[in-house]
């Protein structure tokens, strides 16, 4: 029947939400042609789909591709087969994290600190989240951001204390329900 590892990865990805049409891709390249960040991807979106189909899981998830998707959705609007490359890419991100691949970018740390801030406060607390983010990635880079931070402060765009929502416990219940079944 062919290499088992190949079909498994494709099946795995096709089973993700909104990714069921991955098999229909004709490799036309409109997704890569439209992608706003394509010049940074090691393998542009079209190639990512081709690699999933060929079962090249390791190579793909070790690369820096997929982590550059900014969800502009130009690929999804333009795909002639109604495939959603953005959803496939985000799906691949969760597979990568679940299986312990270390992404060669700080994007995941950004995602995590951002969502933790929201879960803890019910609202994004920019100062706190940015502080944590830089602490975990590159503290010196924070110094470069200082002039911008000061400007924001002066214009009252950088609150120093978090604004919390009232129903934080309710929010917690929702988040817990959603996270159940999804790997950390």
């Amino acid at each position: 029947m062919g290499d088992n590892a190949q079909t498994t990865f494709l099946d795995e990805v096709a089973a993700l939400p909104a990714c069921d049409k991955i098999n229909q891709c004709i490799q036309c390249g409109v997704c890569s042609g439209s992608c706003t960040t394509a010049m940074h991807w090691e393998y542009p979106p079209r190639k990512v789909i081709a690699m999933v189909r060929s079962g090249l899981k390791d190579e793909l998830l070790k690369s820096n591709s997929i982590w550059f998707c900014v969800s502009c959705y130009l690929c999804t609007t333009r795909c002639p087969l109604d495939i959603k490359p953005a959803s496939i890419v985000h799906g691949l991100e969760s597979i990568a994290l679940k299986e312990g691949y270390k992404p060669p970018t700080t994007t995941t740390t950004m995602y995590r600190t951002f969502s933790e801030s929201i879960v803890n406060n019910g609202r994004i607390y920019e100062f706190g989240f940015m502080f944590k983010y830089y602490l975990q990635t590159n503290p010196l880079a924070a110094l470069k951001m200082l002039p911008t931070a000061l400007k924001l402060l002066v214009h009252r765009r950088l609150p120093l204390t978090p604004k919390r929502v009232k129903g934080k416990a309710d929010l917690r219940i929702i988040i817990d329900k959603l996270s159940a079944g999804v790997g950390k």
Binding site: I26, Q27, C28, G29, V30, C31, S32, G33, S34, C35, A38, M39, Y43, P44, R46, K47, L74, R78, P80, L81, D82
Partner: protein, 653 residues
């Protein structure tokens, strides 16, 4: 006459016998009421198989025949003929499908045999009630109507007219010729389109057997195969075609300028005009919507200067009645409008053209006398040709438009020929060069220097990112064979717009009582085995109205449709199958429910008798009216209540 039933169980090689115990079924059949003989045989449809039936009719006095074999769709006509050859009425035959409905849908020998027995029992009980029906014959009128005067209509008209039979060729534009007239050179031979088309157009104009009805439309169609009545509207040209000699003086004097449809709005025509120089018929037409006299009551310059007094502002549309035996629809296509694809910039940027616009530009009789030029009058040095615009795309049309790869290559060849030093880039997903000489043409075009990039462009933009890109249109795409997103600056972009059915295709289909598919192309009777016939007998289709196709295939289809029509004309009559419905007028209450239910418009209400009556020639035996009649007044021949009940009993026994 006492029914004596002969039952024949077919093995169909191992198709049936491999699963069904055919000998057991034959034995069982012998025990059924009124069965005088039951046999099993390897291939009933073969000559020896059929001979078995004929022999039994002759020697054993069999007068009802049941064959248990494949689907009636396969061999009902075969066995009906065999029964008829044996001397019986062909409707004294019934078929039990023990293959598609039995041996082919289970692997269990027991279940298949049991079901086969039940089906045979049903057929035996049913055939007991069969009546000796007669197929009706209707005569076929020898004239033909062809709707649409493009290359398909022209070809079909000439084929039929050359056989000596009369053709009415109806075309709604002022001249015949269609889209082919707009093309420059045609692939792969690079024949000049007008040069190969105009001789045929002249032949049509001069042919004694063709009544050319240009600037006319079909208003109404009624009737059935062999006997259609058509109302044709001759639209008013406001020009007396018997007097006009096409001298063109009126055109030079007309003060009004209008966008020329023929030139895809790249040039202007006058309010009184001929669409192009080689128009057939060579007469002018006044475009009422733009003529100063019709709009404001002034001018009449054309009338003043016409030496033949051919202008007649009082002219009115004229309706004529025509009787024909067959109709061929060759209504053609229109091109996809790429304005909806915002990211390609058609309509926003100068110098983004559709394929038809480019054809007119490169044509030496076109708006620029064959000079390829940008909006500012300069020659483009670099041109991008984007394939699959509006095609192969779930957002617009899922299908492939078939001709675009080839005409794109043709454009490239012409560009390199017309513009010294031009660089042409083709952006494709796949290359479809399927026809005779097509792949060779692809190789030739590559040799001539066209560059092919595999990658459907994401967008066309004028926002320059580098100094080289300033003032250019930039095609952003992934060069998939290299694997990188790139930007290609060019001067001009040509979009390979796909082929679509005409805007009113659905209405035309309705008018002629044929179907349209999902995309509004006319539906053929069978996509492989019957591409030019429709489900409506006597109405045929050819060319792009059925689906996107190139000129060779269009001409082939037109000739095919003509051949079908000539076959019917030659036979002179058409057999209508006998399993139609009829109304017992004593029982009919005149409620007219059946009139509305009939999908074939076969039932009409007879005012003076206050009953409904079915036109047997139009009736297809669908049974809808039979079920709908509240008075139980309608009988379906060959599907009477007795016959159906007997069949059900046979299965349940």
């Amino acid at each position: 006459m006492e029914p004596k039933i002969g039952v024949y169980i077919c093995h169909c090689g191992s198709n049936i016998a491999g699963t069904v115990d055919v000998e057991k079924v034959a034995e069982y059949a012998k025990s059924l009421p009124s069965v005088v003989v039951a046999r099993d045989y390897k291939f009933m449809c073969s000559d020896p198989g059929q001979d078995l039936i004929k022999k039994d009719i002759k020697e054993l006095g069999v007068n009802r025949v049941v064959v248990a074999s494949c689907s009636p769709q396969m061999h009902e006509p075969t066995f009906r003929r065999a029964v008829q050859d044996g001397g019986l009425n062909p409707y004294y035959f019934e078929m039990a499908n023990i293959r598609e409905h039995c041996s082919w849908v289970t692997e269990s020998r027991k279940e298949a045999t049991d079901k086969a027995k039940a089906l045979v029992s049903a057929a035996v009980r049913r055939v007991f009630y069969h009546q000796p029906l007669e197929n009706k014959e209707v005569p076929v009128h020898p004239d033909t109507l062809i709707v649409g005067g493009g290359i398909a209509g022209i070809q079909a008209a000439l084929e039929i007219a050359n056989s000596g039979h009369k053709v009415y060729l109806v075309e709604r534009e002022p001249s015949i010729g269609g889209h082919m007239m707009q093309l420059d050179k045609t692939f792969p031979t690079l024949d000049c389109s007008a040069c190969i088309l105009t001789p045929k157009m002249s032949m049509v104009g001069a042919h004694p057997q063709i009544e050319l009805l240009a600037y006319c439309e079909v208003d109404n169609v009624s009737g059935y195969v062999g006997n259609f009545r058509v109302k044709i509207r001759k639209k008013a040209r406001y020009v007396d075609t018997t007097k006009c000699n096409g001298c063109g003086t009126c055109v030079t004097k007309c003060p009004v300028k209008v966008d020329s449809e023929f030139d895809e709005k790249l040039s202007k025509r006058k309010a009184i005009y001929t669409p192009f120089a080689q128009a057939v018929p060579n007469v002018t037409t006044i475009d009422r919507a733009h003529c100063t006299y019709f709009l404001k009551g002034k001018c009449r310059a054309c009338e003043k200067f016409c030496e033949r007094n051919a202008i007649n502002f009082e002219q009115e549309d004229e309706i004529i009645d025509v009787e024909v035996g067959n109709i061929i629809l060759t209504t053609g296509y229109k091109i996809f409008d790429p304005s909806v694809i915002k990211e390609y910039g058609y309509g926003r940027y100068d110098n983004v053209l559709t394929s038809l616009e480019f054809e007119r530009m490169v044509n030496s009789a076109g708006p620029t006398t064959g000079h390829i030029q940008l909006k500012n009058g300069q020659e483009p040095q670099s041109i991008a040709i984007i394939h699959c615009v509006g095609s192969r795309d779930e957002k617009y049309h899922e299908y492939c438009s078939r001709v675009c790869c080839m005409y794109a290559m043709k454009f490239s060849h012409l560009l390199i020929e017309h513009v010294h030093g031009a660089r042409v880039y083709e952006f494709y997903i796949d290359i479809r060069s399927f026809g005779k000489g097509y792949e060779e043409f692809y190789n030739r075009v590559q040799k001539e220097g066209t560059v092919f990039f595999r990658g459907r462009p994401g967008e066309v933009t004028d926002v320059a990112q580098t100094p080289e890109e300033k003032g250019k249109l930039i095609v952003q795409f992934e060069d998939t064979l290299v694997g990188k997103q790139r930007r290609q600056p060019v001067d001009m972009v040509v979009l390979c717009s796909g082929i679509e059915p005409q805007a009113d295709a659905a209405d035309v289909a309705h008018k002629f009582n044929i179907s349209c598919g999902k995309e509004n192309f006319f539906t053929e009777k069978h996509p492989k085995l019957d591409p030019v016939a429709t489900m409506t007998d006597g109405i045929f289709i050819a060319g792009c109205c059925q689906g996107p196709r190139d000129i060779p295939d269009t001409v082939a289809q037109a000739s095919a449709a003509a051949a079908r029509v000539l076959a019917l004309i030659n036979k002179g009559k058409v057999e209508i199958e006998a399993d139609t419905a009829f109304i017992d007028e004593a029982k009919c209450s005149g409620c007219r429910i059946c009139n509305l239910m009939c999908p074939y418009n076969a039932i009409s209400y007879i005012e003076k008798d206050k009953v409904s009556r079915i036109n047997e020639a139009l009736c297809k035996g669908c049974g809808t009216c039979v079920a709908a009649c509240p008075s139980n007044a309608i009988t379906h021949k060959h599907f009477t209540n007795d016959e159906i009940n007997a069949e059900i009993e046979g299965i349940l026994v």
